[in-house]
Point group: none
Chain length 143, copies 2
């Protein structure tokens, strides 16, 4: 499904061109929402509905699951891909993820993540320095 890392620009009107290879699948409908680590999550409508149900069924008694569900559910917005393959990112989401112009679109199998490019690169640097742990984790997954 979604895979890879892509760099794209947001235009003056707040529109973002999605990588050409993902357009077909996203044309049926997509949902953007506030993600974790200051990025945005983008799901197909289908995937989103699965997730939304899970979120809605979380125990409302626990304060942290409650706020996590709120973040994702209340922050969500359905977006359309226009004829040129762009989607309009609402202002409040662009602000949430502190996006200026250059953004990174990252494929994470069942979702896309949209990052401000500076944040992405910082995050990645931090991660790659820990690659020793990764080797071990890979072992556990049977690679």
């Amino acid at each position: 499904m979604f895979i890879g890392e892509y760099q794209h620009n947001i235009d003056q009107k707040g529109r973002l061109a999605v990588p050409a290879k993902f357009r077909k699948i996203l044309n049926k409908g997509a949902v953007v929402t506030k993600g974790l680590d200051d990025c945005l999550f983008l799901y197909t409508t289908e995937e989103w509905e699965k997730l939304a149900e899970k979120l809605a069924s979380l125990p409302i008694s626990k304060s942290n699951t409650r706020s996590f569900a709120r973040l994702m559910l209340a922050g969500a917005m359905d977006v359309e891909i226009d004829k040129q393959g762009r989607m309009l990112l609402p202002d409040y989401l662009r602000k949430y993820a502190s996006m200026k112009k250059k953004v990174i679109i990252a494929g994470l199998y069942n979702r896309l993540e949209i990052w401000d490019d500076l944040k992405w690169n910082k995050y990645k640097k931090g991660m790659e320095s820990k690659s020793g742990d990764i080797a071990e984790a890979l072992g556990e997954l049977g690679v």
Copy 2:
């Protein structure tokens, strides 16, 4: 499956010709990922799917599994073998493995590894001098 060591060149557009004997099997689709020791891993789509499913099913609520999945999934890219037997390596992966032009393609049974030739030769030298220790370690594994 994959076996042998081959030296190939990356062309101006970032394309790499894969050894002719592997084309047939890779034609169905392949995935390149960030490997260990600054090289790239190349899997058949089939092999990759197994891993990706596992990664995607990790809980997104935990910060370290989240970043691990990000690194592996976003770091991967699905590639196609064109009619001339070449595949396009995305910029960010070539940078990751610090590849210029000459690269080594090494068969490791269920995956291919792609190395910058300089790194490969350094690495190999280091290994060969340690081969005594390695032999002992193998003994412990019962080989």
